[in-house]
């Protein structure tokens, strides 16, 4: 076809098809969809176009945002090019004009382009926290500055994909309150394709220039300097940046850019590098050369090194166990090291005092590590040596972790620690007030849900924002982030900034959406503190309590790894709504009139939305265990209430629709405190036992009281092991298994998370079978696959643990409890984990990380075989009774469970219906041995 004909056809298609494209939501002339969401919202390339969001109304073609002075408001401008409009477009913001001649300076409106990244590794908390399967996908996180030569603007539209431009609008100090107007425009060359009015209301309230909640970023620049400048990798402490030295200029510029970027994001960056050189002049005297160090850090400490002139509120004394190096001086316990470290610390403190920096100094002698005896002892020694020079930071739990079930955690009664900054999971709120009353500070390191919101790349958008809310809610003094930069473990500690080198910005850092949402949370804390100052501390606490119902060890049930669901919502609208209410309260507190206020009637509606969105009551049947009492069958149903409301609850448990032959205590009292949970054992008598082909009998557990009526399905998982006359051949082929009644375990349920439609059925079916002879228990597990998929496993001899879950590849686990108690810990359980390769890991006592009970490798004598077909993979085990303890030969009812991990999708399911945690006797199903 001739070229001109091709162009004619294109023009015709534009004319004919453009109106059709215009029928799509939000479409406008030019076949370009445009919408705007706030910075809280999680965006993805698959998003549909939107007409109405919290800040954008498509009918009025208007974006409305509010800000305090010195606050940064983020917008995400979404674009989708439909048929006929591909190619590149620019997104720009026109000058924001306000009252009088006031404008928001252009330098305070910054644009970024999202870069598409692939995420394929997910942690085990992901399904439970997000109710989403852990499958590889493309995400938006990295924000490339719009002016970057590579990866920045203009936006190259790809058909059908949603593109986003992130816009930061900062209201600088001194901005007059009032309404500022401009436009968000989409341009191609000089032509404006689309525009939306942008209305910014600046409230007569200013955020403090120095953050009230320190969010420390410990910046180890070694990898950054290696990546960008090719520097050799050394320890952070000895990586020296020498101002004024040729060859170091670019490094200095890079460090300036790094700290400035973090400072602008309301964090407290601490450069962990370039510790000053020293020499020993006597056994307990050192001479330190401060010149280069002072030249490097002085600007940050006096504020001249930051664009806003605000000095860093904290700075580390430049020493640690690696500097002076303890290993070269006899070890942390040696008197030689104590002398030199003490001398160094005194010299450093004196220098800092002289410079006027000492009141902002802190000393972090040891990096985060497990609570082992050695680590605790090292802390004790170092704090004893150094504790008088500056406040000491210890990344240990301020209270005992044994109370949370961590069997080998060393207790840390260490005197002299000023700042406790443990991982969130180690923090028991009960000790916070007691420690703070003694003048100590409690910080935390962001961890995983449900202990704290996460900064992991897989974390929902709301988590990064909610992190600061969590600190406020619990009255904590700060947040410590150990690795904001790439430290070689990007999957574990996803960096919050990356070098700009690959984007053509060799001296800049490129931020992420997670860093910007962390800033958003820090600004929210300032709003909460302003509300306190306005005489409404109760309201501020109430609001924070709605956003974060519980966290830290408040999320724990029986032990550190048996937990409640996360105590905050992954829906960003919750924190957005809470912020809107804060602004309304502040606007009425500080100025009557229309400066951001709304009528009080609308407050009630929005408050109700916030309460309903976060508060709730959840009941669950954790497990039903059978036992043999003098020849009669008894059952114990373990019921739990999780009360996420602020009210005490009282009601009645009811067990309904019991299977035939079941009777007993069908009603019993229930009571639970606000924001707490409680468990109850309900005893039932079993005169007749019947169950379906999946080994399940279902009934209903209900809680009623006042106007409350909640119901949930409960199950008793029970199957039997019929007696065989001939032993089975263990070869992975299940075709020789006898077809008998009632020896099947099916109907597996997800242990964490929910299926998209809200149910608990995993995507892939699993069935287990049992039988026995005089010497062995036989178990087989049939794991259906998706057609064509290979079983997903690694050819090694290990099974990775992620908390309480074996993780990372396909496997099944058989949990046996011959003693058949319903109380006790995982120490009473035998676990057999099998991969599709046939690798078996057998343990006596369930193993978790960290360990919640004693566990040891078990010489089980088990024979195992595995086989894979197109439809499924299967394992077959023969377990000798003689290696299962005395109870195995005596009891005819055992506790048992079978779990399966679908490694690709991260779906961890079990037969008994256990939720969240599987390694407790009360959470098992029941096996009847037909002896």
């Amino acid at each position: 076809m001739a070229r001109s004909d091709t162009w004619v056809l294109r023009i015709i298609s534009l004319v004919l098809l453009a109106p059709l494209a215009g029928c799509a939501t939000g479409s406008a002339p030019g076949g370009l969809d445009l919408w705007v969401v706030g910075g809280d919202v999680q965006v993805s390339p698959d998003d549909a176009s939107l007409t109405d969001t919290l800040i954008y109304n498509d009918t009025r073609r208007r974006v409305e945002i509010s800000a305090a002075i010195d606050e940064t408001i983020a917008l995400q401008v979404g674009l989708r090019g439909s048929l006929g409009l591909l190619g590149s477009v620019d997104v720009a913001v026109t000058p924001l004009q306000g009252p009088g001649a006031a404008t928001i300076p252009e330098r305070d409106v910054r644009r970024y382009v999202y870069e598409l990244q692939t995420l394929s590794d997910f942690p085990s908390w992901y399904p439970g926290h997000t109710n989403d399967a852990a499958g590889s996908r493309e995400i938006y996180d990295r924000l490339v500055p719009y002016e970057a030569p590579r990866g920045g603007g203009p936006i190259r539209l790809r058909g059908g994909q949603a593109h986003y431009v992130w816009i930061d609008v900062h209201v600088p100090p001194g901005t007059p309150p009032g309404t500022y107007r401009g436009q968000v425009q989409v341009r191609r060359g000089a032509a404006v394709l689309q525009s939306r009015d942008l209305v910014l209301t600046v409230a007569p309230v200013a955020l403090p220039s120095e953050p009230t909640l320190p969010i420390v970023m410990r910046c180890d620049p070694t990898r950054l300097l290696e990546d960008v400048l090719g520097w050799p990798v050394a320890t952070a402490e000895t990586t020296r940046i020498l101002p004024g030295t040729a060859g170091h200029t670019r490094a200095q510029v890079l460090m300036d850019g790094l700290l400035e970027e973090l400072h602008q994001h309301r964090t407290t960056p601490l450069l962990w590098a370039s510790f000053p050189k020293y020499r020993t002049t006597a056994p307990d005297e050192v001479e330190i050369d401060w010149q280069a160090y002072d030249a490097l850090v002085a600007g940050w400490l006096d504020g001249t090194g930051f664009a806003n002139g605000v000095r860093s509120p904290l700075w580390p004394l430049p020493m640690s166990v690696a500097y002076p190096d303890a290993t070269r001086n006899g070890g942390p316990a040696s008197s030689a090291y104590a002398r030199i470290a003490g001398a160094y610390a005194r010299n450093a403190a004196a220098h800092f005092r002289e410079k006027g920096w000492l009141e902002r100094a802190l000393l972090r002698p040891l990096p985060p590590g497990p609570p082992t005896t050695g680590n605790v002892q090292a802390h004790r020694q170092l704090v004893g040596t150094l504790g008088e020079t500056a406040p000491v930071v210890a990344h240990l739990a301020p209270g005992s972790l044994r109370g949370l079930g961590w069997v080998d955690a060393a207790d840390a009664p260490i005197d002299g620690v000023t700042i406790w900054a443990p991982p969130a999971a180690w923090l028991d709120p009960a000790v916070i007030r007691a420690r703070q009353a003694r003048g100590q500070q409690i910080w935390f390191q962001p961890d995983r849900p449900p202990y704290s919101p996460t900064l992991h790349l897989a974390g929902p958008a709301a988590d990064a924002t909610t992190l600061a809310w969590t600190a406020y809610r619990y009255g904590l003094d700060g947040v410590w982030i150990e690795h904001p930069l790439d430290n070689g473990r990007p999957l574990v500690d996803a960096p919050l900034l990356v070098p700009g080198k690959e984007y053509g910005l060799p001296e800049q850092m490129v931020p992420t959406a997670r860093l910007k949402r962390l800033r958003r949370g820090a600004e929210d804390v300032e709003l909460l503190r302003l509300l306190e100052a306005a005489g409404k501390p109760g309201l501020a606490q109430q609001t924070a309590g709605q956003v974060v119902r519980w966290a830290f060890a408040d999320a724990c049930l029986e032990n550190l790894l048996s937990t409640r669901p996360s105590g905050w919502s992954v829906d960003a609208r919750v924190v957005s709504l809470a912020r809107t209410l804060l602004r309304q309260e502040l606007s009425t507190s500080f100025a009557a009139g229309d400066a951001g206020g709304a009528s009080p009637a609308s407050y009630a509606t929005e408050w109700a939305r916030l309460m309903e969105g976060t508060a709730g009551i959840d009941i669950s049947a954790r497990g039903t265990r059978l036992r043999d009492e003098d020849g009669a069958l008894q059952a114990s149903l373990f019921a739990q209430i999780d009360n996420a409301t602020g009210r005490r609850l009282a009601g009645t448990w009811e067990v309904r629709d019991l299977p035939p032959g079941w009777s007993g205590e069908t009603q019993s009292a229930a009571e639970v405190a606000p924001n707490a949970n409680t468990r109850r054992e309900i005893d039932l008598v079993v005169d007749g036992l019947s169950y379906n082909a999946d080994g399940l009998a279902n009934f209903t557990l209900a809680l009623s009281g006042g106007d409350l009526l909640l119901e949930t399905q409960a199950r008793v998982a029970v199957t039997s092991a019929p007696l065989l006359l001939e032993p089975l051949r263990i070869d992975g082929d299940l075709s020789d298994w006898p077809i008998t009644a009632n020896n099947t375990a099916g109907g597996f349920q997800l242990v964490r998370g929910r299926a998209p439609e809200g149910g608990l059925a995993p995507k892939l079916a699993t069935r287990a079978y049992f039988c026995m002879d005089d010497t062995h228990l036989y178990v087989s597990v049939y794991c259906a696959k998706r057609g064509g998929e290979r079983a997903y496993w690694k050819p090694d001899n290990t099974i990775k643990l992620d908390g309480a879950v074996p993780w990372g590849e396909d496997l099944v686990e058989i949990i046996l409890h011959p003693q058949n108690t319903s109380a006790g810990t995982g120490e009473l359980l035998y676990t057999l984990q099998v991969k599709p390769s046939g690798l078996l890991v057998a343990r006596q006592g369930a193993l978790t990380d960290p360990p919640m009970n004693e566990s040891r490798l078990w010489q089980s004598g088990v024979r195992v075989a595995a086989r894979e077909t197109r439809e499924a993979w299967a394992v077959e085990l023969a377990i000798p009774f003689e290696n299962l303890g005395e109870a195995a030969g005596r009891n005819r009812i055992w506790g048992v469970n079978v779990t399966r991990l679908d490694g690709r999708r991260g779906e961890y399911s079990s037969w008994s219906g256990a939720r969240g945690y599987c390694y407790l006797p009360e959470l098992l199903g029941n096996l009847l041995l037909q002896r």
């Binding site: 005489g535 109760g538 109430q542 009528s599 009080p600 009630a604 408050w607 602020g646 009210r647």
Partner: protein, 345 residues
Amino acid sequence: MATGNNAAAFRVGLVADESAAARLIAAVLGCDGLQLAAQAGMPRKNAAGEVPWIDDARVLLTREDIDALLIATAPGLTVELLAQAAAQRTPVWCLPPAGRTFAELTESIGLIRAARIVGRIASWWDLVAEHFDWALRRTDHFRVWAAELYISSPASQPASWQADRGRAGGGVLLHDCYDLLEAAIAILGVPESVHAATGWTRRGDASGAAAEDLALGILRFESGALLGLRATRGVPPYAAQLVQHGPDYSIRATAERLAIVDAQGAVRESRLLPSAWLGQELERFGQLVRGGETTGEATATQERHVAMAAVLEAMYLSARTGQPESPQSFYEVQKWPDPTPGFFE
């Protein structure tokens, strides 16, 4: 100038707004033991003749001829004057509410206690407690099952501080319900939860700056009792009463009278309540000052007002959030010691 006959009279400065000036002046002048030495806060024409009138309440406190300060004005100014009195270690008396919020009140009381001065917040309950006690003990087994508090007051003047939420801290709920609600709280204790709604019948205020003139509330107590509250301004007829219902009879209280009412609604017995309660209040203050009592009864009264502040702020919070709220939470947030059982007795 009328002065007290008691040779031991001490000199008081009075800060009162226009609405309170007349009755306060009359109460002071009728009080043996108190001598009105200076006054401020009211328009000059409402001031007592021949007593020095100061146009700035803050300046009044700096006068050397003042032994104690009496305050009857907007809570916002009351808080400021309480702090000033504590700083100067001047005994101080005020009408409730002595703060717009729980935080303001507890801070003021904290300053008073730290200064070890007599700081008394007037309490109608202290005057009438023995009469309520009589009513509650008519039978051995009387228990309040349910109570109703009904307040209907004249509308506040639009230009006055009572109509300005910023200066007043609240409207009909905070100010007009105070005395009878204090009596109810004194009898029933701090409620476990409160659920409230507030509104504006007159101005439909959009800015949120006006004090509310309509309030409804439900208070739940640990004993199982419920109290229903209805308060309005500017909706005649005007009345104020607290009715407490028990198994055999009800107790109906107004500002003037206490009545025992039977199941048919007939009044079986009644008592007049003290009418000149302000004068008696001030005399009691005088006794406390002379005796230097900074603890004991003085502290107990302060704690009851703290409890009132917690209840009222919980009601305002509930009206904002639409959810039941717990007064107890304010003690936790402000780290104020919990009310100990029995201090109402």
